[in-house]
Symmetry: none
Amino acid sequence: MSGAESPNGSGEPLVRIGELARRAGIPAATLRAWERRYAIVEPTRTEGGYRLYSREDERRLRSMLDLITRGVAPAEAASRVTADAAATPRATPRGASPPAPGLLTNSGELREGLLDALGSFDEVAAQRLLDSAMAAYTVDGLVTEVVLPVLRTTGERWAAGGLSVAQEHFSTSVIRSRMMSVARGWASGEGPSALLVCPPGEVHDIGLICFGLMLHERGWQISFLGADTPIETMREAALQIDPRVVVLSVTAPQASAALLDSGELGLRVPVMVAGAGAVESLAEGIGAELLADPIERAADVLTARFG
Amino acid sequence: MSGAESPNGSGEPLVRIGELARRAGIPAATLRAWERRYAIVEPTRTEGGYRLYSREDERRLRSMLDLITRGVAPAEAASRVTADAAATPRATPRGASPPAPGLLTNSGELREGLLDALGSFDEVAAQRLLDSAMAAYTVDGLVTEVVLPVLRTTGERWAAGGLSVAQEHFSTSVIRSRMMSVARGWASGEGPSALLVCPPGEVHDIGLICFGLMLHERGWQISFLGADTPIETMREAALQIDPRVVVLSVTAPQASAALLDSGELGLRVPVMVAGAGAVESLAEGIGAELLADPIERAADVLTARFG
DNA sequence: GAAGGTCTGTCAAGTGTTTGTTCAAGGTTT
DNA sequence: AAACCTTGAACAAACACTTGACAGACCTTC
């Protein structure tokens, strides 16, 4: 009875049907029916015959569900999903968000679930939902469909009094640390390197972390100086690291003001400013260039310019 | 503490099954079953046939447990853990600093290498060294032998002018994010739960993160509110989460002062204060109790009292 | 409108697998 | 002697499998 090694070459953690049903919110019986009737997935099996689903399987089943909830008949949805899969030679290039048909309804549930879990200080549930999200989305999709929307909603509800400081604090802290854990290894690679910085007074760095993840996905090496980084620190780090570009993230007005006070940054490296507080006047004032929203577009632009 | 250490050739501390079971929170019978069924570890034996587990064994068993709590079936989790181990050809940090072949287990060299890498903004090298450290040490060892000493040295060199703000900033940021990534999953488990908080004005949270890791090692579930948490936030979170104990980490004098200003915390839960700035007068002033250094001892004391 | 057909999600029955746990009988460590 | 550990067998609960069936929704045809 030596270990029944499943042929799991890619080192990807496969899950059984129950877990997948829980994650995707589809009854196990339905999953089996879809497989039997439409051959939409073909999970590997254990020696004992248990189904083992990959992330790709999960993605397909989710988009199937999404199409159905939008009113597409199951048979039709299935044929679209399998056609999609056949037409996609390999992993989606990088630019694209989730495949073509957005997983909107589903990401809606995901977001709601996440907001619930975070609002009730249930980190375990939140991490579980983030697991699902990571299995179901590309990095771009995760950021644009889940993380940033959840952060925005959290901020709005907090401003409207619907969330306490504690809940807001907890939510951002959980998301932030999860994103940082995804970010492990983003400093390595072959591509151009970017130095990511939050200037003095700027404490929101999650957006910048997300941006770093998306850049790494596009081949960049990331050096990250977190929130509230002194200008002098930034200068010195830029000198040492010698990146292709420096990206400043600005949302807070006081951060903007502080930057303007310190005038031209005087780096030898191109500087871009991004974030909700980044405007043309700020960019001019510090000798930088504006990197406009939305975030995927910004990542693409940067890659096209300096990649 | 009751270090059942039997030296083997390399002088690595080995533990018997009972000790390991307690530490990792996995019943001894389960450990034996995993070994028998999945051959996930192969502990050495005493002459009498008792199992002796190495740190690498412990690390594997923990990652197995981690996968299981995330919903992966045990058999799958096992195959992934063993595949991981096989695919890791004993990562040898390349680069100038470490001349030693194989794993860098000398804590002095490790620390020096880490300080070098961090001081020159070389995150890749730093992460490699941290990889080595994690393979070679238990969580307790990692914290007490590597992380905290490196942080302390960094602080000292910075104070003495040997390090720039930039270097200090970068170093703590890299270490902090790595520790947070190790911390994934610390909210889950069966044991008692602890709420870990840095009070207003306290921005150093790495020590508290380390403490959380050590508690989780001892079976605790951790809820973490990061740096600079408002008192009100803490109160509300404590109410919601209803932990067995609240731990405040205090190093900065202003944090201490702010806490004293706000007087008794008035929680229904025992509160402990820890950290370099924690003194008896502070503890008394806020109706808390002092949790004395060193950090492993503090973790043991807490576990003995509330575990 | 009624009748018949197909599609689809769900359920039940009966079998098999996986996995944590328990027990007994005995050896080791301190 | 007490505490700890060993092996091997066995067990129960949770989980999953297949097959077959069925009700409701929807469509076509009479």
